[in-house]
Symmetry: C2
Subunit: 719 residues, 2 copies
Amino acid sequence: MHRPLAALLSISLLLTAQDPPKPIAGFTPAAARRQLELESKFDAALNRQNLQQWMKRITSKPHHVGSPGSREVAEFIAAQFKSWGYDTQIETVYPLFPTPKSRLLEMVAPTRYTAKIEEPPIEGDSTSSIKQDNLPVYNAYSTDGDVTGELVYVNRGLPDDYDRLRQMGIDVKGKIVLARYGGSWRGIKPKVAAENGAIGCLIFSDPQDDGYGAGDVYPKGGYRPQFSAQRGSVMDMPVYPGDPLTPFKGATDPNRAPDPKQAPTVTKIPVMPISYGDAEPLLRALGGPVAPQAWRGGLPLTYHTGPGPAKVHLKLEFDWKLAPAHNVVARMRGSEKPDEWILRGNHHDGWNFGASDPVSGMVALMEEAHGIAELAKTGWRPKRTIVFLAWDGEEPALLGSTEWAENHAAELKRHAVAYLNTDGTSRGFVSISGASTMELFAAQTARDVIDPQTRVSAMERAEARRKADGRPPEYRIGPLGSGSDYTVFQHHLGIPSLNFSFGGEDHYGVYHSNYDSYDHFVRFVDPDFQYTLATAQLGGRMILRLAEASSLPFRLDPLARSVRAWTTEVVKLTDDLRESTKKQNELIRGGALKLAADPRLTFIPPEPKPEVPHLNFAPLLNAVSKLEAVTAKASKGTVSDDALIRAEQYLTQDDGLPRRPWFRHVLHAPGFYTGYGVKTLPGIREAIEQRNWPEADAQMLRLADTLNRYSAFIEAAIR
Amino acid sequence: MHRPLAALLSISLLLTAQDPPKPIAGFTPAAARRQLELESKFDAALNRQNLQQWMKRITSKPHHVGSPGSREVAEFIAAQFKSWGYDTQIETVYPLFPTPKSRLLEMVAPTRYTAKIEEPPIEGDSTSSIKQDNLPVYNAYSTDGDVTGELVYVNRGLPDDYDRLRQMGIDVKGKIVLARYGGSWRGIKPKVAAENGAIGCLIFSDPQDDGYGAGDVYPKGGYRPQFSAQRGSVMDMPVYPGDPLTPFKGATDPNRAPDPKQAPTVTKIPVMPISYGDAEPLLRALGGPVAPQAWRGGLPLTYHTGPGPAKVHLKLEFDWKLAPAHNVVARMRGSEKPDEWILRGNHHDGWNFGASDPVSGMVALMEEAHGIAELAKTGWRPKRTIVFLAWDGEEPALLGSTEWAENHAAELKRHAVAYLNTDGTSRGFVSISGASTMELFAAQTARDVIDPQTRVSAMERAEARRKADGRPPEYRIGPLGSGSDYTVFQHHLGIPSLNFSFGGEDHYGVYHSNYDSYDHFVRFVDPDFQYTLATAQLGGRMILRLAEASSLPFRLDPLARSVRAWTTEVVKLTDDLRESTKKQNELIRGGALKLAADPRLTFIPPEPKPEVPHLNFAPLLNAVSKLEAVTAKASKGTVSDDALIRAEQYLTQDDGLPRRPWFRHVLHAPGFYTGYGVKTLPGIREAIEQRNWPEADAQMLRLADTLNRYSAFIEAAIR
């Protein structure tokens, strides 16, 4: 069947204009028709110029948490919301937020080199020369330190990398490690370095990843130039995010005297990010063996591991103060169900200018609020209450959202229907992750947004991408890890959340740098704000459908399908681990590993590991079968909105995951050793990965128990 | 079972000293015991100092074919053989061999750059400053040319790369292409470039492949320095190797007036290899789209495809003359079966100094001859005739071996039992490829050579490597492609051949450069000649076992197993191609490919391809079953040596493969579009790959017919 683009277009337009209305979950056919009309009016109210003007304004000066810029941005956003008729407050919290007092990195042997750790102005980038309030290159929540030691290159700095180093006879104890960005969230690198005895940690941006290896560098292209470095938090957020001093509670007291020594999530060793310009002399000075093939990056040199002869001195001192984080909260009260809240958030703070991250998402959110306000001008009111949230302090540690949500936890658990998050957007393909119960909802909203470049449905275009990549074409929602403000809602409070954006056709290699600017955005990210507008169209639809649905559009069968798939994964993980452990032990005990190694290089074979036992998956498998039966039954009957609102909370446990009670959801959490990367069924999965069999058994029973309670709750709620 | 290295050592030594003798194919237990004693004496006669001294002498000056150095080397080798009592001749042939008269490469826009195309002297490398008779950087059998055109970067320059360029809207017609070495034999690159309309071809060594991305560069390490380039032949050898003007015949006439215009295997467009130092300014000057991810290499820049604005001028002029190629032929007459010849060869010509390639293998061969001569001093004589062959002119086009073997084809087909080839060796793991019938023979000889570093059997160490890599541990012989002097024997004459070496622990990135020198070899390849000696131990065993066996050690069942495996592969290849063609056509016709593409970049979807039909594999499958049955029967009975000597020739067809009649073997050939890389069942496989279904059908019948003739011959020979 030949079906050229023109045919696609006309089919798509015909569908929109004349065919029977597409089904919308939670709406009767008649209501769906009215809803589509409402959404058309919403679309008509959107204005691309707003996006452009607001972005230009917000990104005109540094606006990280605690800065004058941040307060001005919060006040500007609040003023907009107020002017559109929203009930608007700035709710300020006061978390610990360190900023650099002094930073020094120098190589002291075999030659001297002082790292620049500055990002120079770039021609054509008008904000790159702004010094006022500019936060220099640093990692937030690095501990203070003054250390000198031999350097060791540790690849991505993950546990496997240290295993490999041990096999090469290299110990990082007392050394300073140099890790590449990537492979995990950055905060994992100093954590694992410290676990292995390192005394300091440098993290550089390898040009292979987001510099010239990815594309032309700024300002010719959008990728990272030689002396650009990636700022960012290194707090141990997989334990808990937000203010390190007030887990579980809102940081509402501005008058505390903060003591960073009391903060368990601050790093154990000093950490600093550097550019590839600064990394190159250090890497050139390293001796020792040549780094393993997969460790070599894009610099024009042979990567060695050290240790030494390169020796570096790292001295970092921070101002450990409380910073006011100004969250903007704007409400439009629901006309029928005012106590059911639809939450929609994006943060407003940036690492300095933050045009892509987060302002592109922020202005989309603002335009959604503006569009909905325009609808309200016609006398329309949402059935449910809409709450817009512009967070401060996301970059250092999800500060604003975490502290606000901890502070309002009780109300949120009673009233919150869902939390909708963005954190920037760009040109390309739609992407929506989140709660499995919202899969159909996500698919239907993306179905109804038109891709601005091709004029087909955004969902259809994303499907084409999946097909072209050889992936299964059908949309399947993926679970949330961490890395943005949905964390407290999804993982701590059990409020179903979505995170969405467009992307994949930007040329964005200036993440968390001084060059994430308006000038960069309009050249390399979303030049005419078409996708920023599409993001607002998508976000607006999500809000309007959740606010207007006669019954909430959550579906339980995709949840059961997800849990079944994840369960199958952990069973397979255990079997694979058993098999690979057996094989590896044979290689070690039979001497093949040693015999295969180059005798001229140091090779210390790993110790054999205990055999992987067979675990009792039966309670879990029975619970999954029960869940499938109950959700199948539910899909034939109906479940009340009240029950649906509370249901996700039945997937949480009050005492949370092992060693990190703040993370309460049993189905997913950011990985303890991946950071942003999600782990599904985390209690079991991480116990297996860590070969902690008693814990795996215990977590299996707990998960089965939680799933059974969830199933019982749903079963009782079916009408 | 714990089995540390020490235990392995003692077990291995014990086995050698006291256990019942290991079986040796072709020998009775008693004869095997005597044979092992003979081999011990042979080992005892070997002298590492010879290897070192001969290498130093042979590599002291350039010795490519046609040079004074080559003649001196041939005379030196012949003198050695004579001194050891061999019946020795220098048999000279006179193939066409072009050398550069003038070479110019300059970028003429947008900036000017004149390529150095010279390899500078390197400190500590004593021969790198020798200018006398030094062959500059060039590609042999490039046509003359003087072309100017825009530059296009074409990745590896293979057919798929041009498909990708077409999808990007880029046509190389009238352009000069810049390709990276690797992915195929180099001669494929100008061939495919010319097929696509390019007017010139540059080939550079990307530092990711054998420069700093592979390891420290010379002289700090053994890898390719900035201004080193890879010489080499670009003749269309997959059509036929050897003198372009005398296919099928020996080039014995020195008085011909050669006309390169009559040489179909000379390239259609001028070609030159360049260093990454010379490639960098060209790549920096390229505009156009960013090259696909997999096309980007190790230079510190963003690889673009062009075309232009870089424009280059390439001017090449060659001296098209006949060169004398001096083959040294040294015979020790067999005492019982003088008309059964065991051939053992390695070439002696190098691209200038050629320490690793080929002298390491040449001196091993010489030491084998010396060791066997020492045995002969005690009165021992081989049962079969041993012929040592030191080839000239391998580098440009397997000139010496091809012309000699074409000249002696009739005798060889009557008398040659097997051809044993090396072409350099280095530190590491044993590797043996060749005729399937020699699998057991190869495994048993490698079993009985001790790895010099670990003191276990070389075969056991290679097995450990396979295990550690997660490959099947059992040794399975792989088929020969091309790239060395076995080509005429295995593929043209149907003489069972082996090619062997040690390697994998060298630091060798100076292939075909001026730096492949003695100084380089003793630092980075085989510092103490241990593995060069092990190569001689292996080669010597092979010769002695073939010469002494009471019945030839060929086994037919591995041949049947190989043919079955290759047949299964081509069936699967067809099925996979059918499935992937269907999928790709759906992506094209359904519009997904177009829809998934970035609208800001040119993307021309490929045309749908005709569906892949079902082929009639029945005749082939029946022939394979027959072969299995016959070889199983043969393994229970015996087949005479006479029959075994002629058997492999039954796997050849007089008129050869389609469009290349010189390649006569039906089971394997160098790939028409891979060059060195072997294609098994080439007639069928390449027809399928080229989607030439009538040819696939015809080749299927021919192959079945050939296999059936082979089976009938074997069946008749079974006693």
